[in-house]
Symmetry: C2
Subunit: 517 residues, 2 copies
């Protein structure tokens, strides 16, 4: 800002251009990219024979081993009526039935945001990026690691709103542990609805909290709109192996009945909740997806659903989950192929890492996962930024570090421009052997948009970087977090809607005593 | 080591197992992995139409714009005899001629190491990994950034020898700036030949230094062996755009005449030495590869050669080269496809980064590049570990950090095991819904080799990690560098050969005065 002022007063003729460019570089952008539409192929790690083996095996698992629907008599009744063999809580699904049930789920759907420019298409060749979900802790360079609060939660929603390459506000960007556990969903939804205008996720920790989510969305969008359009995409984890608990399924039922989307997602640490082999894990994942997605269609035929896979492997020495590993990549690529053959949108990947700090380990592991997520055909990527320490921590610095890398995914997904301008034959003729392209006409016409450019990383000469404090990536990110939060401006919202949301939260909070467990 | 001693003296019955396991975990491994043989497909960013457009355009560039062979009348004569149109130093190559000349280069070749177990296959579905090449500086956590010396050079050769996932000792792992510029190739070759038994690269900075490399290799392998087998793969950069200088071509001529392999490699910062667009850069890269590889075949039909591409993009604000960017990925993937259609081995990618430190930026950029290198079908990856600051710095810590990540590439390249054991149907039946796989028979039988495991990164619980000093990746890497260098043991070499190499270096050094420019 001082550069701009200086240019405006004393040195306009000489310094104005440079100062303006500096100001442009330091200005905080609030533009938001459209969701990714891939113009590149998917990477396929399994051949046709492998796919058929796994598909056959998954159907065998459903028919012979079956799945458990726990504490959910209604679900058992639905399965019985659909033709499954139900013994106690065990549901065995005859070969072919689950695949047939899945076919009524839409191949793609629109999730609406309150700002229609932020609507996202989920499925097909699209990729929607959403931030980290679930950590009870936060970390930043100054405050270190600590329990997350609702203030942290609001900060992460603001950072998500300010992140150009993030299309979705997400859900539990961190657990606001200072708010009673039975009421925090109200504050979380209120934050997403009022501090951002990007699409968001609903609560899944109890069926009545899912209902609160639908009720609040009805205040924001109008009740009719919600019944006819998808305005929330919510995360329904499967208790792998092969178990669907009553609470999660209760939340799924609320969303499906109200035409809202569920991500039906096995949560697997390979070697613990699934076989220690890739093909075995893929078999179990597919069986669980088939059963879970089928169940959503039994609740409401045509309900929007995403087939998910949260898969990591276990370190067999320590028992710790590991991230960014080649085996997790195999599973993510393979699941993508299997899900596309089912004609369903696919959720997987994220900026996964096991590191305690936003350091090189975190970045290697996250980059491995992010690249794999793009190339495996993921349509909805939760945890695309901010994830640290195996998901225990939402990191302020890593949020903006990962969010910057998401820009590279956008540019890569564009594919190669083969237009005449892209071919650049005139430039090659103009410059010829031994010349250089910096000043040529084609470069002048294209350089601004030719290359992805970071908003965070350091490209300066060594000497400049050294003079400016020899900052590492975490230090650069820390400064960016501060700048984004300082310049945040709340998006406009009809005051009457805002008031109705405030009133809803207050009355729901007043209706029951606090609970912290 | 104290753990082992303790177990051996006092607490064998109770503590021996744990202590032995700890000793195993901290022991330094000197095993070396075989080069990667991919069991996965390549990723292809260009469709057939795009490939044909670029191939057509590249031939147009050769025929209409041409290439310069500078200060090299013999080369111009060779081109004239081959049927090119030569005007001054400009060589215009009629459509189809270069492609035809390239067809005599071998699709694959073996580079021999003095330890035959370390031989590498270059081409086809193989991937050979070699360390960083060229930096005048080194950096480590304790000493910071400084000019590289021959001691640093030897340390990096030792680290390469100790790195399980590195198949190749490389070439100029850093510039030994304390040795006269006209003699340092002798010390560098001597280090590769005596401190490691992995394959290595020869000198290219002058034709007579290439000849010294051939002569020293003849002492190491025997002169007949060298004439009949490839024992060096050396880096011949093209002065993009479209220029082949006399010194580099002179080195290429020496190697080709002696049946040694050359990597013919455009060195391109997109936007400066090539058009600012991906398709334009691919066109120029292909034209340069066609001309350079053809020239190697004019020198000696059938000489082994690798088609290379060192491509990065420029930051149009600062003019700095940038790494790990999506545009560089497009070019690397596309060049892989074009080179495979020529039937040539392909060199590209590496652990590229622009960061000044081995921090998160370095790791994001490097992981982006390493993953792309594997999936783009690269056969020879130079700079696979240790590269920092745009190639100005060889980093001790980053060397072992990247080298660890190369293990993940090996595991990913294996593809998915679809054997009965891999399918794990017995395990799924055994465990069933709600169980866990940790103790099951299939897990017990497979867990040791099921998942890639880091030798460096931290997987410990937060509390343990915190008690042990809350170390970041650089600190872990620093400790590993020390441990590797402390436990390094020189591989055995026939004393007579060692003596002949010593004598050769001494006599060549004595023959001419030192030069430092």
């Amino acid at each position: 800002m001082s550069d701009v002022a200086e240019a405006g007063t004393g040195r306009r003729s000489r310094g104005g251009g440079g100062a303006a460019r500096r100001a442009e570089r330091t200005a905080v952008s609030v533009e938001s990219a459209r969701f990714i539409e891939r113009n590149i192929p998917n990477f396929e790690v399994l051949n046709e024979e492998a796919l058929q083996i796994i598909e056959h095996n998954a159907e065998s698992v459903l028919a012979e081993v079956g799945v458990n629907f726990v504490e959910n008599p209604e679900a058992l009744q639905r399965w019985r009526e659909a033709g499954a063999d139900v013994q106690g809580e065990r549901v065995r699904i005859p070969r072919g039935l689950a695949r047939q049930l899945c076919s009524s789920a839409p191949r793609t759907f629109t999730q609406h945001a309150r700002n229609p420019e932020r609507n996202v298409e989920i499925g097909g060749r699209s990729l929607v990026l959403a931030p980290v979900y679930g950590p009870p802790f936060v970390r930043d360079a100054e405050g270190g690691r600590r329990y997350a609060t609702i203030e942290d939660f609001r900060n992460f929603v603001k950072l998500g709103y300010m992140s150009k390459w993030l299309h979705h506000s997400g859900g539990t960007v961190c657990e606001p542990t200072d708010v009673p556990v039975n009421k925090r969903h109200l504050d979380m939804l209120h934050a997403h609805m009022t501090l951002s205008d990007k699409p968001f996720m609903g609560s899944v920790t109890a069926p009545e909290r899912a209902q609160d989510s639908v009720d609040m969305a009805s205040l924001l969008f109008g009740a009719d709109f919600v019944q006819n359009n998808t305005v929330m995409t919510s995360l329904i984890n499967i208790n792998s192996p092969l178990t669907f608990d009553g609470i999660m399924m209760g939340a799924l039922e609320v969303y499906a009945r109200n035409n809202q989307a569920a991500i039906v997602s096995p949560f697997i640490v390979g070697g613990a909740m699934a076989p220690v082999s890739v093909a075995g894990t893929l078999t179990q994942v597919l069986a669980e997806i088939l059963a879970g997605v089928s169940y959503s269609q039994l609740v409401r035929k045509g309900a929007p659903v995403i087939a998910g896979a949260f898969v990591t492997s276990i370190d067999m020495n320590s028992g710790a989950p590991t991230f960014g590993t080649p085996e997790a990549s195999h599973i993510t690529y393979g699941t993508g192929q299997l899900v596309r053959r089912l004609g369903l949108p696919y959720r997987s990947a994220g900026a996964f890492c096991g590191s305690k700090l936003p350091d090189a380990q975190a970045a290697y592991e996250s980059a491995n996962s992010l690249n794999m997520g793009l190339l495996s055909g993921v349509n909805f990527m939760l945890h695309a930024c901010g994830w640290l320490e195996g998901g225990l921590v939402s990191s302020y610095e890593k949020f903006v570090m990962d969010a910057d890398q998401l820009g590279a995914l956008h540019h890569f997904a564009r594919g190669v421009d083969l237009s005449e301008n892209g071919q650049a034959m005139d430039a090659i003729h103009e410059v010829g052997p031994g010349g250089h392209y910096l000043g040529c006409e084609h470069t002048q016409a294209n350089f601004k948009n030719a290359f992805w450019r970071t908003d965070l990383l350091d490209y300066k000469p060594f000497e400049t970087w050294d003079e400016e404090g020899a900052r590492d990536t975490q230090a650069l990110a820390s400064a960016r977090v501060k700048r984004l939060l300082e310049t945040y401006r709340q998006p406009e919202l009809d005051p009457a809607i805002r008031e109705s949301l405030d009133d809803f939260v207050a009355s729901r909070k007043a209706a029951v005593p606090d609970a912290f467990l």
